[in-house]
């Protein structure tokens, strides 16, 4: 099975803090990581490869630093990587990003399955999988948790996905696009031998728009119709650190009075 795996190199949002005065993110000094939900997708793709053989190519659209992310998944067992990286791709919204990724997948050619994570931790749109599927005119299944079966001859594959109140099984013809439900897999650790290989033979290619030859109106800032109208945030409410000690009945009365005073409860 020829699999393409999409990953994103994101700032570790657990380390990003929020400036309570300006409402902006403090990104300085924040290390980047592979989007954790993409590691679920990586594990899922690797299990398919373990079972049915084939190759996995990881793709990403990002500045060159994202090579470290591709090296990480190659360390887990992915075969090679392609980084779409060009100044012309910068400033893209999800539409322009998915366009470039779809074109990368087209250019690779002969792909059976495209695997994405459910969403990214730095923007949580969950757009990319669906948009890539629609650019490529391929069926798309999201929240995938498990492989049900795969008929290699008929190129038919069935996935199970879990929703809040039910489980669903989708049987589709390859090629197809899926996104893997977050927290549904246990991503395997990086292996020394794969990591050494990744460094020795550098199986990562960088594709700029020279190689891709995409219409500049479809990529980067120009290809991005999304407009951020504004950002708002909930200001931090300072704690008053008031403690009541004594009879529980009085405590309830005291608490209700306080909440009324603050306008938290109206009566």
């Amino acid at each position: 099975m020829k699999i393409v795996l999409g990953i994103k190199w994101v700032p570790n949002t657990q380390a990003v803090r929020f400036d309570p005065k300006t409402g902006t993110l403090i990104r300085e000094g924040v290390p980047s990581i592979v989007n954790p939900h993409d590691l679920d997708a990586t594990e899922f793709a690797l299990q398919l490869k373990d079972k049915f053989g084939g190759r996995i190519t990881a793709v990403s659209m990002a500045p060159p630093a994202a090579i470290m992310g591709l090296q990480h998944v190659i360390g887990m067992g992915v075969d090679d990587g392609i980084l779409a990286s060009d100044r012309a791709f910068a400033g893209a919204d999800t539409l322009a990003t998915s366009y470039v990724l779809a074109k990368v997948i087209e250019k690779i050619g002969g792909v059976d399955l495209v695997v994405f994570g459910q969403e990214t931790i730095d923007s949580s749109t969950a757009h990319i999988g669906a948009q890539v599927a629609s650019w490529l005119k391929l069926p798309y299944v999201y929240y995938v948790e498990k492989l049900v079966n795969y008929d290699e001859k008929k190129k038919e594959i069935a996935f199970l996905r879990k929703l809040e109140d039910r489980e669903e099984v989708y049987r589709i013809k390859l090629p197809a696009v899926i996104s893997v439900a977050m927290h549904s897999q246990k991503p395997r650790p990086v292996r020394m031998s794969y990591k050494i290989m990744a460094k020795l033979e550098n199986p990562i290619q960088i594709w700029t728009n020279k190689e891709m030859g995409l219409d500049p109106r479809c990529i980067g800032l120009k290809g991005s119709p999304t407009i951020v109208g504004g950002i708002t945030w909930t200001p931090e409410v300072p704690r008053k650190k008031e403690v009541f000690q004594g009879d529980p009945k009085e405590a309830v009365k005291w608490l209700i009075d306080k909440l009324k005073e603050e306008g938290v409860i109206p009566f």
Binding site: G77, D80, V190, R191, M192, S193, Y194, K195, M197, P203
Partner: protein, 455 residues
């Protein structure tokens, strides 16, 4: 594009030789293994890797963190001279934040403190961020030809037929003629080899630290520094709740590193607050907090440092095909007013590389040939400092040292400077403070003598 070679090499030895590029046919070649594998891309590992790669050895450096330096923590200061011996003038290109030209030592008791300050226009040490310095040192090794591979946790040293032949990580193994252990203070690999026993609390100190972003100009103003000049400030006494150890303040380019080092053997018995709360107390100390009151805490962290000197060195630092450097060898010095870790580690890595080169010239990495490392170390400042100065350990066990002396210093100053009506004489002030601190004249004289002698 690439043949699927990873499958069939999985269960074999991972030494590859590319035969027909670029179609990617890889053939296993057992003869072509690494000359040297180094475990850990810290200051010790990278210095050794740099020297050996420069000499033409085929070097593989394996690092557990996602990048060099990600698993390391230090106070904030590095002494330059040992690094200059390794890197020569290239050191000027290292990520140096400020050259330390002001040294300050303070005794703290409650909200009061007494300080001694030394100012100079020359400097022998600099402040930096360790991940930046570690990255630089690893890159130097890389430029010299070593291969650095991150995110790999080595979990065993492979010892066979009386010699070390490689290292293992999970189900993978790599082989080399020489393995250099630069794994750091937590010596799991050496424990596995049976060369050391598990760390004892008495052998280590625990450090905790915060980095506060402040801005370059504010640092210069508040600490009285010129551009690119730094301050190193050590404090002892009440700042650690009188637990043996001390606090430190270092000025980086646009941030300040503050933290504590507590002797662990004492801390586990005497500590009242969580160490993170003790760092917070340091940050909020009434005489200090205004220095960084409007700063922003960027990061915090904790780490162990070896303290016992020769007492925690492994029985041997060289085996057949094996050398031990840096913190793993117990080669760090902490004498309260001076803490030397990074430069010691780098220098011992450098000596290990030198010994390896000599051994290679003599015919191979046998224990016999590698033993020169132990004698090089014994003749170097590292070992001399360690044996001479770890007598400080005795002082740590003298409960008066970290309590009575700071109390005496602060008490005397308080008596001299805080005047009601009558101006007090210095001798009377001193004696009053001495009695309050519970120190007899003779015992004080004895303590003073020992202190001077040990230091």
């Amino acid at each position: 594009m690439y043949l699927n070679y990873l499958h069939w090499v999985e269960k074999s030895i991972y030494i590859y030789k590319k035969l027909i590029p670029p179609c990617g046919v890889y053939v296993l070649d057992v003869k072509n293994k690494w000359d040297v594998i180094i475990v850990g891309a810290g200051p010790a590992g990278s210095a050794a890797g740099y020297m050996l790669a420069k000499k033409g050895f085929n070097v593989l450096i394996l690092e557990r963190g996602r990048q060099p330096g990600y698993k390391e923590l230090f106070g904030g200061r590095v002494y330059a001279e040992p690094l200059r011996e390794i890197y020569g003038n290239d050191l000027e290109k290292a990520p140096i934040h400020r050259w330390v030209k002001r040294e300050k030592l303070s005794f703290v008791d409650g909200s009061k403190l007494v300080s001694i300050e030394y100012q100079s226009d020359t400097s022998t040490s600099f402040t930096t961020y360790l991940p930046q310095l570690a990255r630089w040192m690893a890159d130097k090794a890389g430029e010299a030809g070593a291969l650095l591979v991150e995110e790999v946790t080595v979990d065993r040293i492979i010892y066979k037929d009386g010699k070390v032949i490689g290292v293992g990580s999970g189900s993978d193994e790599v082989y080399a003629d020489l393995v250099i252990d630069a794994e750091g203070v937590n010596r799991l690999l050496l424990e596995g080899l049976g060369l050391v026993v598990k760390l004892q609390p008495e052998q280590v100190a625990v450090g905790a630290k915060e980095t506060i972003k402040l801005g370059e100009d504010k640092i210069n103003e508040r600490f009285g520094l010129n551009k690119e000049e730094g301050m190193a400030w050590l404090l002892m006494g009440g700042i650690t709740d009188y637990i043996p150890g001390g606090a430190f303040i270092y000025t980086n380019k646009d941030s300040v590193s503050i933290g504590l080092v507590l002797h662990l053997g004492h801390a586990i018995k005497e500590v009242k607050d969580h160490i993170s709360q003790m760092v917070e107390k340091l940050r909020l100390h009434p005489q200090l907090r205004n220095l960084w009151i409007d700063g922003d805490i960027m990061e915090y962290g904790g780490h162990l440092t070896p303290e016992a000197g020769p007492a925690m060195m492994p029985k041997k630092l060289a085996l057949n095909g094996f050398l031990i450097t840096g913190d793993a060898g117990g080669l760090l010095l902490n004498v309260g007013y001076t803490i030397r870790g990074v430069d010691f580690a780098a220098y011992t890595g450098y000596l290990a590389a030198k010994a390896a080169i000599e051994a290679h010239d003599k015919g191979g990495f046998t224990e016999q040939n590698l033993k020169a490392y132990e004698s090089m170390l014994k003749n170097s400042f590292v070992y001399k400092d360690l044996t001479r100065l770890t007598g400080m350990q005795d002082l740590y066990n003298d409960p008066g040292m970290f309590k009575a002396l700071p109390k005496l210093a602060v008490g005397t100053a308080a008596n001299v400077f805080e005047i009601d009506l009558e101006t007090p004489g210095v001798w009377n002030s001193f004696n009053k403070a001495r009695r309050n601190a519970g120190l007899g004249l003779l015992s004080l004289a004895w303590k003073g003598y020992r202190l001077m002698k040990k230091m």
